[in-house]
Symmetry: C2
Subunit: 409 residues, 2 copies
């Protein structure tokens, strides 16, 4: 049986960058940039006044001058008028462009301004400026015209949108959303609006997978098939042709109603693997339709479905939004967490252990195993924030072990 | 001047739960639940078969019987037919309801099934079951009918939607989205589609605030006003009346074009504070229109706007989505991180220090200060993931200090 590492490698090998599309900048929140953004001007683009006060020549101050005639007042957004007299000053507001002839700003807090009998305004400076350029955010201090600001592959968050706006990127190239068909199977499953018979349960995996795929940036559509190979043979081809990925839950185990592996192969989906050395989620089936969708056929027990999605499908969905294919499922990768209680797990399987996370006062991320009734215990997901990946060769995991945690909250 | 703690308390004091609305479960992703959800049945609702194989009576196996006549086959979704002969078995699939008379399931992997000359199917069990109930997920093993599953205040993620589906919560009560008006001010700002004059810059704070508020669950609309008190007096009243919060950027400092505090007071907005002992973002102004919006008037330097949003406005937006008012801004609270480089900061101000975060191999969250050119250095946000909150009474922060980190990625 395949190891988790080998399964990961086979899933990663199917990563192909999705096409790009052009979006208005405000609509691109959360999307992945496909073309780099450069500074179209210096950052700041001019010597930008950083405090309200007066602009003057540092040398005059350094020579002992303390009172300055205010020649005029300049607001942000006004074209700067030069300082006429090198021993005078310009009253000036934050965000304004520093006038030619001035190099330093003294803030109002350090000034007294008076009007003399001739009606002229004079500023008495009550502190020495520590250096020329004080309270001036100098042109190009942060970035130069032409500098790379956002490389392709950047996820556009609020800060990135702000930088995009500053450089005038009103339209940006981003990866189009992955299109994901979510298919639940199982004769025992009824719609959520229906009262189940005693031996039935309501459908929940499909909604879970759609929500989780949406949070990974996907557009989703939901479908349900009963355990009927003919219905699958009729319904699946359109999904395989139209979507980037098909996420199925259920129907991949050894039971007599588990038609999916056989049906998928008959429909021309190349099986890349079936069964992985892991718990929960051993019967995971994975394949690819040449020219069509990648197929994640996940075991139907809710914890198995959930864990397999976050371990394999979510990193894949994030990776295909990147501009270049990677050989690994690094996107959305796990973080190291410290086991807070001893765990024993004997089978020679990678064990995905549901844990709640807590930030210790020393800055360590602590993982507390959650009591779970196995892969069918859907409610055990509720108090958990992550699952630890426990390697198969080890049986006892002492307190303090540092292990990879796959966060899902 | 107000401390960060006092400012936090005054902001928290304005928290009022927003009204609830009813949504179809799939549309409620990311929203906050307003009514608790209970188990409408046991979890699992019946003795659920957890493996494909045969169901039998444990006692028969324990007495040494190894071969069992298969009476019939039962699929998931079928009403269970009882075991007729206590020494026979039912072939059974995962997800089926365990038949009356059987208590244990032996999986296919541990069986050989043959057909005898009379056409009857017989299963030869090749292992002993370790206990009665093996491979059966017993009714109510995880939760009981009536148990509280999701308390009011739960954020509905993929796992919560799945549980909601299981209990048939096709429609759920959730908090309606906060309505946020984002207003930028400043005569130097031009639209992003416009080529700025040398002394102008493009608008970016408004887009940043809208994006960040959306990520906190808000519906947003964007506005811009020039530095003109008359325009503000005409434009702001409708926003104060129609929105839950108004986020302004710029116009709150000491400059001659900083009309906002005065204008807001004239419009009847009660000033709760102006200026906080913090850097960046000291001129932060905060108030409340009686019967109307809460007003966050943030300083306009991009890093000041950003940090104040994440320190005060985002926790507020998360808190008003909770069903009960809290006295603190605990929602979206900071996590402890370990300073990886010494930092010195002399002024008696709380310092918000931009940092990039890295998970150390020992499970500690490490914070690396980012070089930043001050509160105007928008690009310094790009490599950062968080800001540390450095308390005002301390000047030197040695390597290894554990400090609260406000994450924004």
């Amino acid at each position: 049986m395949l190891s988790v590492e080998e399964a990961t490698r086979l899933v990663a090998a199917t990563i192909r960058p999705l096409p790009a599309e052009y979006l208005s900048l405000p609509l691109a929140l959360g999307r992945v940039l496909r073309e780099p953004l450069y500074a179209d001007r210096d950052f700041p683009p001019f010597n930008r006044v950083a405090m309200d006060g007066i602009a003057l020549r540092y040398a005059a101050l350094a020579e002992g001058q303390t009172e300055f005639l205010i020649e005029h007042t300049q607001f942000a957004g006004q074209p700067p008028r030069p300082l006429q007299d090198p021993n005078a000053a310009v009253e000036i507001m934050t965000g304004a462009s520093l006038p030619e002839g001035a190099d330093t700003v003294i803030r109002y807090e350090d000034l007294v301004i008076r009007t003399d009998e001739a009606g002229r305004r004079l500023a008495l400076v009550q502190v020495g400026a520590p250096r020329a350029g004080h309270n001036v955010h100098a042109q190009a201090a942060d970035r130069h015209h032409g500098d790379l600001l956002l490389p392709a592959g950047t996820v556009l968050g609020p800060a990135e949108l702000a930088v995009g706006a500053t450089v005038g990127a009103a339209t940006v190239a981003v990866t189009r959303r992955p299109r994901v068909a979510v298919v639940s199977t199982g004769d025992e499953l009824v719609p959520i609006t229906q009262q189940p018979e005693p031996h039935q349960i309501r459908r929940s995996n499909g909604l879970m997978l759609q929500a989780a795929a949406q949070q990974a940036g996907a557009e989703t559509a939901g479908f349900h098939f009963n355990d009927d190979p003919e219905a699958l043979r009729l319904g699946l081809p359109a999904l395989l042709a139209d979507y980037d990925a098909v996420l199925l839950s259920g129907g991949v185990s050894k039971g007599k109603a588990d038609f999916l592996p056989q049906t998928l192969r008959e429909l021309g989906v190349e099986q890349l693997f079936h069964e992985v050395q892991q718990r929960p989620g051993k019967p995971f089936w994975f394949g690819k339709q040449p020219g069509g969708a990648v197929v994640f056929a996940l075991p139907g027990n809710p914890v198995s479905t959930f864990v397999n999605f976050y371990r394999y499908a979510r990193p894949w969905l994030l990776a295909v939004q990147q501009p270049t294919a990677t050989a690994t499922l690094a996107a959305g990768s796990p973080v190291p967490a410290v086991l807070a209680q001893e765990v024993q797990f004997k089978p020679k399987l990678t064990h995905f252990l549901l844990v709640s996370l807590e930030h210790g006062p020393d800055g360590r991320l602590l993982a507390y195993p959650e009591r779970a009734g196995g892969s069918g215990d859907q409610a055990s997901l509720l108090p958990s924030q992550a699952f630890l990946e426990l390697p198969p060769e080890q049986e006892v995991f002492p307190v303090g072990s540092v292990l990879p945690a796959w966060r899902f909250r």
